[in-house]
């Protein structure tokens, strides 16, 4: 026993070093590379308050531009509404008394903190559990999809944005209707890579990309970005497609959290099918 204690005291520096490194390593593995609830993050109470305080100061300087953006968005939405209304009136085929079941519900939120130049970018929103945000909900903006809610606290939530290496979403090409998965390569905040598009598909520069809706996180057909470049690497069966993202992550301010109302039903059905 005495030998053991002498050993402990003699090597306490290295032993303590190893213990602390193991603790850090466990943190790294269990929190950083998964979408599970993380307690140690910027949605926590103190860091949330600090961040929103600082952001509020900055908010005054961009009010004019944000107002303009909101007006444009409102106009777009109103236009859409009128268009829909007309169509239904004109169509005579709608004989059955169709009740449209609402599938997705949007909640407005404000970005109180965001990064674009880190390898692990995150966005913090000013709404959380109390306001009805759920973990795993999608986040969209007027320009396109933003990301997915990673963790929530009572009044704040942290979003894993498209420009985080842990993020993955399946997208469909507007022209050919082929789909692949979109991943960020960690370099520029306005570009990402589309994978798994086979070489026989015709890919055009400027073609738009939409969400597939497979993941039941986003509504089908939300804009994601545009094809910037499609390269063929020798010896590979898939295109190397660079996508220009439709959202400017440096400017985002007002976003919507998407609540999938029928998610539970869909998920339970999937479970039954999977056995």
């Amino acid at each position: 026993m005495r030998v053991f204690f002498t050993f402990l005291i003699k090597h306490h520096f290295t032993l303590l070093f190893l213990v602390l490194q193991i603790i850090s390593f466990v943190f790294i593995v269990s929190y950083n590379h998964s979408q599970r609830t993380a307690y140690l993050n910027s949605s926590s109470y103190t860091s949330g308050i600090l961040n929103s305080g600082i952001t509020n100061i900055g908010a005054y300087f961009s009010l004019a531009e944000e107002n303009k953006k909101l007006i444009t968005e409102n106009t777009n939405l109103r236009n859409q509404f009128r268009k829909n209304y007309k169509k239904i009136k004109v169509s005579s085929n709608l004989v059955n008394d169709t009740v449209f079941l609402q599938n997705f519900k949007l909640m407005p939120a404000e970005v109180i903190q965001s990064t674009v130049y880190k390898s692990q970018n995150f966005i913090t929103l000013n709404i959380g559990r109390i306001q009805g945000v759920k973990e795993g909900s999608g986040v969209v903006s007027a320009d396109g999809i933003i990301g997915v809610v990673k963790s929530i606290s009572n009044n704040y939530s942290v979003v894993l944005p498209l420009i985080n290496k842990d993020f993955k979403v399946s997208c469909r090409l507007g022209y050919s209707q082929y789909y692949g998965s979109l991943l960020w390569d960690g370099m520029q905040y306005n570009e990402a890579k589309l994978h798994d598009i086979p070489l026989h598909v015709s890919v055009h520069k400027g073609d738009s990309l939409f969400t597939t809706g497979f993941s039941s996180i986003y509504p089908t057909g939300e804009l994601v970005g545009f094809v910037k470049e499609a390269k063929v690497k020798s010896g590979e069966n898939f295109f190397d497609i660079t996508v220009r993202l439709s959202v400017d992550f440096k400017k985002i301010r007002y976003v919507y959290v998407v609540d999938h109302l029928l998610k539970q039903e869909l998920d339970s059905l999937k479970i039954i099918t999977d056995g």
Partner: protein, 167 residues
């Protein structure tokens, strides 16, 4: 006693600067200066070894919480704290460190200070960016990130050195 208070204050001020100012510098993906490394640089020579490690861990994990990267900075900081005695030994002046000296330019001269901060800062950034990248970045990108962020951090450290005076 004064030295302890000074270090605690430095701990708090550096974390606030890091979180509220330097983490918000969004100019390039290559520039993520970690100025908290100055806390590890400035700890007195006679700091107990266990305290060196524990304070490094506390420093890292606190900033990690704000950056949503639990474990990454604490791992880096503890590793650098562990290497610090070795680095100090490696760049030791010919007649050793005299009692009452602090690791700063006014006590040990600029050439020593530049070497010392250079080693600590470069190692810190290199380890940090390697862990962050987890195999997706190529090594050249990591190297560039390290160089650019380190230059910025070293500039910060040296500016602080100019203003530090002998009591």
């Amino acid at each position: 006693m004064v030295e302890i208070v000074k270090n605690i204050l430095r701990f708090i001020v550096l974390i606030l600067l890091q979180v509220l100012v330097f983490n918000r510098i969004e100019i390039s993906e290559y520039l993520n200066p970690m100025v908290i490394v100055f806390f590890l640089i400035a700890l007195p020579f006679n700091t107990p070894k266990w305290l060196l490690l524990v304070s490094a861990f506390a420093l890292g994990i606190t900033v990690d919480v704000f950056m949503n990267t639990p474990g990454i900075l604490s791992f880096t900081a503890v590793l650098v704290a562990y290497l610090r005695p070795l680095i100090l030994q490696f760049i030791q002046p010919r007649d050793g460190y005299s009692i009452g000296d602090l690791p700063r330019a006014v006590d040990l001269g600029w050439s020593w200070m530049i070497q010392y901060s250079f080693f600590i800062t470069i190692i810190f950034h290199l380890v940090y960016f390697i862990i962050l990248a987890y195999s997706q970045d190529n090594f050249l990108v990591i190297l560039w990130k390290t160089i650019i962020s380190s230059i910025f951090t070293l500039f910060f450290v040296f500016v602080l050195q100019i203003f530090s005076t002998k009591n």
